[in-house]
Assembly symmetry: C2
Amino acid sequence: MNHLSSVKHVIVILSGKGGVGKSTMAVQIALGLHAAGKKIGILDVDLCGPSIPKMFNLESRDIHQCNEGWLPVYVDKDQRIGVMSIGFLLGSADDAVVWRGPKKNAMIKQFLSDVYWQDVDYLIIDTPPGTSDEHITVMESLRGYNPDGAILVTTPQAVAVGDVRRELTFCRKTGIPVVGLVENMSGYVCPHCAECTNIFSKGGGQALAEQTDISFLGSIPIDSNLTLSLDTGVNILEANPRSPAVRAINHIVKKLIALDKDLP
Amino acid sequence: MNHLSSVKHVIVILSGKGGVGKSTMAVQIALGLHAAGKKIGILDVDLCGPSIPKMFNLESRDIHQCNEGWLPVYVDKDQRIGVMSIGFLLGSADDAVVWRGPKKNAMIKQFLSDVYWQDVDYLIIDTPPGTSDEHITVMESLRGYNPDGAILVTTPQAVAVGDVRRELTFCRKTGIPVVGLVENMSGYVCPHCAECTNIFSKGGGQALAEQTDISFLGSIPIDSNLTLSLDTGVNILEANPRSPAVRAINHIVKKLIALDKDLP
């Protein structure tokens, strides 16, 4: 797995619960770090529900092989954001990956060993919900590569926060450091009357971060511009730089860069 | 697995994507069928992220054993809604189930064979996101028990609809019939100005149902009453019978009962 040795930072996006915005965070953090001049790799290990290709509008693209291994699919012409996902290996977007654990583990190990990332500053690993095969395999494979750690994503509801508590136990059991927690879908500003409603409750993420003594990276409001941008593969940071979600994302990315003491 | 032979209907709640409202649907459909006089069992096979106990406010409860097997935990005094979940077997709500596939499969098989449901009309099986171990094991174990089939849940976004297309492929591959599709989080009515916004896009579920020739069961709007009821374990059908989500749920339950030609 020596391709990983040239990667400066590895960040794993985790959440016990599905649909809280892990892939959204992976994409937005990647775009934010890219806008700050960093070179990025994104590895999508959600084998049964790969969303990253669609979110970058890369669905029809193929993976190519070179002498060094598999080449990621690049989002931009300058090849500063590269993506690897099982989505690129499926014949059709409707194909279901009906695999039990051992087959999934083998695929993830191959992704971690064979993809030729080429000196990326940040490798962001997007995971499926849960604390099972995919997660155990990623954590075991990253040992020895000194990953920065995990960013946990939650929504404010008690049900989601409960799942993140379990994910935190998982991080402690598997020995991966926690970079911090992001609360997604925190409040919705009505575009008609500009009043904010906490559709999915409020503050659960921040309270959890305080209780468990982990860093709170920030809250991202519900923003239909963000949903739309991810459905169409548009870079919202460029298309809609003043939207509430973008301001929140930029804030989180700044915190991440501030954590990086190894780079100038 | 002869405890399953006394179950009249088996419905599996599926969605490729997480966080679209599978557990919410499982709970609301159970409550709706219960209000219509049916006896209900709910089996939660989301081993890494069990939400059902919290949604019924049963978190501190324990499973008891009788001569016939494990007794479900009952929601009501009349024992007309029984729940089985790994949540009842964990010491603390923070405990993470860090299990690979084979251990998960063994647990699910035990749930399917050892729980003494006692003549329930409907057994509703809530699943984790994806198309992997848990789903394959459930489908294999249900063969021979003539399950009614799967209810697929999606949100309107393209990303979620894509995952449901894959789940549909899974149903066809494993031979489970599709009862129909529910679109959750379809539009949000602002409580301040009463204007409706399609936060997560609109109509993706209905369009998918038409394209793939499966039954569209209905749309459920975003409703903070519903989120709150599930965080606190309150029965929204009784607490808030006129809320928009409850009207939509009642509509879906009526369709399900209409499908049932075996019962008077």
